[in-house]
Symmetry: C3
Subunit: 396 residues, 3 copies
């Protein structure tokens, strides 16, 4: 039995029959479903490395809808689709004839006649992104039930206002590889901390995604931010519940130093306060440009009070043996590189640059795993067939 | 013999050897060519449903050129290309180095070295779209004859100033499925009527496409619009000729109620008067923004006189047993949903929502059929080979 | 042995083991590497003509980054990728979340996790394009060495400030076919001359690419331009050295007539003077719109002094037997067609229109050859396998 076959066998033991079509929030998924996503990602990665074709689909569309800019996730989604044999078709709302007042139900069905997956990024408006994705999913249910659609395409959250599951799952897979196993993460301390940035309005979905996911594996999760830089309260509740159940812990501090103290993993990253994102959403909706500018000025002034929330070598020394793993979703605001003062000092980032690149490299496979698990009830069978067939990806 | 094989056998009996490469106007096609297009669409749909790969092309480009916004047709074209194994390459004239004064002949050849299909939407300028498509087709003839191009790509009209054949053919296939057969359409009454919309400048291609096509199947086709909202006179001539030949009828009325009276099918949809489209074309060409605004004001004011041209429950009661099939190319201007007052009342639209979605769902297969028939002289052989091979679309 | 197999055998005799991943400048490639690129292009073209699938890749991305407009090269790149089985993913820097100050190293790695090729056009800034491509290549080396990337994608220059190798190589392949062989080019005279155009700021990469490449095959290469319309001095050095080595010649003249005199091939094309491109680069960087306008006025006025640098029938009569082959990278500025007065008269262009189209038609295959040779050390083996397999491109 090859290493890949061994992984497929392990996958077989996980319950995925209720995985569902969509991947919207990690906390909507059972532990087995999370584990199977990681496992499938690993299998696909290994298959590609060993030049085994992962092409399940001979044809089919993977629709992408980016309501905010993206490079990493856009390329990861394209890579994942391509790996499985799907073709990306971008829904560019600017070039589309989406009538004023056209319902989500209609658009969702119109783009899905031959689609297998719809990936959506919608992270600008607090209270809107996740809601929109659920509405798309409901519309697809409707279309499928009414026989408008021959298959039910999967909706994959490529970042919403609440969670960023393709990021947090790639991060988790990175940790699993870095520390050797998920079991090895038990008892480890991860510090998800705010960091200074000379920009404002960064989404909350990364820190929320991290505390909502990492609390499930027996880790001690520390959330740290200056007073006022709160996340969505509900997600804190999720994190607390997860920690209690998994035997880990979840705590909140307003000191970056405390968070770093003896931590195994640090994730310093800027975000805008929950309340600010709420006000910003209202101003964006009202297209109040003056209001937005005023809010930006106010926030940048407030941010500036916390310039010492920078991940420096001195702060890294506080971590476990001074050698915590530094993580970031990229791009990081690197002091003296991308900005004068930022989230992380150049020397710390340089030391961990390769680690962050590897972290990012798991995302295409995580997305491909979500696509595969969302569409197949017997993923281990599907994968074993591909492995047995062993059609080469590159005909060398 | 399976159901699909039976359909392929039926296709074999239709004469398609003179189909030609392109699909520009339905009235440039013989009855057998129209029937074969419907048949191939049905075959491809069934093949996909039964997980049989429709992949004829191992590589090849399907070029798309959209000179106007599109969601439905864009996704239908992408789906059709993907289904057959082609990859869409969009010609974005904004990002292209198309020199001022570069000839159509040159551009058409430059994008076609490895292309199999070119899909074009060009519906903004009256007198221009169809002419442009013919010029592209002539240029490809030239390139193919001169051995610049190894194959002659097919030009497919994705909506021009004259016709919208992918729409009207999908509509016809919908009717065939809804009423059981094309024969069942004989003697049925279809009301293609103008409807009120708070917008102006909508193309004439849908009503023209409908009256130009539906008159070929022995139906009684009623065109209805307020005085002045005329279509291109030539197309009326086509409709009359078709009706005479097919044993149906074609009549014009200026009363929506008369058109609906005892109709089996109603298609209420807004459009701009022929004469207005002509003036608009001149203003667009002259880039006369003031003139365009003035024309818009004038037209909206004129439209507003006909707000009672709305497809309401009361009007639907006038139709055959009050149960005519409502059709629309979507998106519809739905009163109280997409606008205050529009083409159709919310309750009528809601009742037929699923029907309109299904209607739209035929378009990808119609386009794929046009691609296939434009490129192969023996379509039944090509399809039978695929059916016999029975390579799975999804490797489950 | 078929004709294709014969070509593959010939390829086998050429040394390509040190081809390297990238194709940046023709003068970074050995003679055998140039010859193998032409050979592979011919093989792929023939395979496609004979309906043999060239699909080496079952999945994989071909990333394109166009920092300037493009039609021909964009479609050629897309066609080449598609022919080999790769899917184009465009890096649209406008829609990307590329942070201010994000390093090239980071972006290059983020887009390359599942990529096989990166094609780049970057020709606006003198001193920048080639430098950028080298930086991308170095970043990919870094990522591959550090195991961030599973493969080292190839960087292909789709036009930089220094060279335009996909153009010059396609031009060379055109000449090879036109004159029967590369040997037949020995002793032929090619006139690469400036020509008048009512526009300014055209890149230098085409004339530089031509003199840098054609001097390697024993041709007499004449560069002609009005005083002041110099190319990058380094490239003149390359041309001189090549000519000396190949037994051809390289000379500079300031008379179009002298250049045309008894020439076998003429390539009249406008460009901006080296010094102007330098000033323009500074103004573009400074976003000095007034300065740019002033520079444009100055240059157009200067251009206007040389309106007699037009390729007319009278000038063509000066060439060898009055029958030199006219070449152009297209689109040409054709007098009375694309502009009042331009690079070439309408009657001359018309006479050679088909030749120029055929010239352009080699580009997709040249790019595909660069992709293949950049990724495989044993290209003849890879190709022979495909030829033996003889999987049909179109399943007819």
């Amino acid at each position: 039995m090859t290493a890949i076959e061994k992984l497929v066998k392990e996958l077989e033991c996980l319950k995925t029959t209720k995985y569902g079509y969509d991947f919207l929030l990690t906390w909507m998924k059972s532990d087995d479903e999370i584990l199977s996503t990681l496992k499938v990602a690993d299998i696909l990665r290994k298959m590609r490395e060993e030049n085994v074709s992962c092409r399940i689909f001979d044809s089919g569309l993977a629709v992408s809808l980016f309501r905010d800019n993206s490079t990493r996730t856009r390329f990861s989604f394209a890579s994942a689709a391509n790996l499985l044999g799907l073709t990306v078709q971008d829904l560019d709302e600017g070039k589309s004839q989406i009538a004023h007042g056209e319902t989500v139900r209609e658009t969702a069905n119109m783009i899905s006649f031959l689609a297998e997956v719809i990936g959506i990024r919608d992270d600008m408006f607090l209270g809107a992104g996740h809601t929109y994705m659920k509405e798309v999913a409901d519309s697809l249910d409707f279309g499928y039930e009414e026989k408008v659609l021959p298959r039910r395409p999967s909706v994959i959250n490529l970042q919403c206002d609440v969670d960023h599951p393709t990021q947090s799952m790639a991060d988790l897979l990175h940790l699993q590889h870095h520390f050797g196993s998920l079991e090895a993460l038990r008892g480890k301390t991860v510090a998800m901390t705010w960091a200074y940035s000379p920009s404002y309005g960064k989404p909350l979905s990364v820190p929320q995604g991290i505390i909502g996911l990492m609390t499930r594996f027996g880790m001690n999760v520390r959330l740290a931010h200056p007073e006022g830089y709160n996340l969505i309260p509900d997600v804190l509740g999720v994190a607390k519940k997860n920690a209690a159940k998994s035997g880990g812990s979840f705590e909140l501090t307003h000191s970056m130093n405390d968070a770093f103290s003896a931590a195994d993993i640090v994730y310093p990253k800027s975000w805008a306060p929950y309340a600010v994102m709420g006000r910003r959403t209202e101003l964006l909706r009202a297209k109040d440009h003056e209001g937005l500018k005023a809010l930006e000025r106010e926030c940048l002034a407030n941010n500036a009070k916390f310039k010492d929330w920078e991940c420096t070598e001195a702060k890294m020394k506080l971590t476990k043996k001074g050698k915590a793993l530094y993580m970031h979703c990229l791009p990081a605001d690197i002091s003296d590189v991308s900005c004068k003062e930022g989230e992380v000092s150049a020397n710390v980032f340089e030391k961990y640059r390769i680690d962050t690149y590897k972290e990012a490299g798991f995302k295409p496979y995580i997305i491909a795993a979500m696509m595969l698990l969302g569409q197949f009830n017997e993923p281990s069978e599907v994968l074993m067939n591909l492995v047995k067939k062993a059609s080469p990806r590159v005909r060398q």
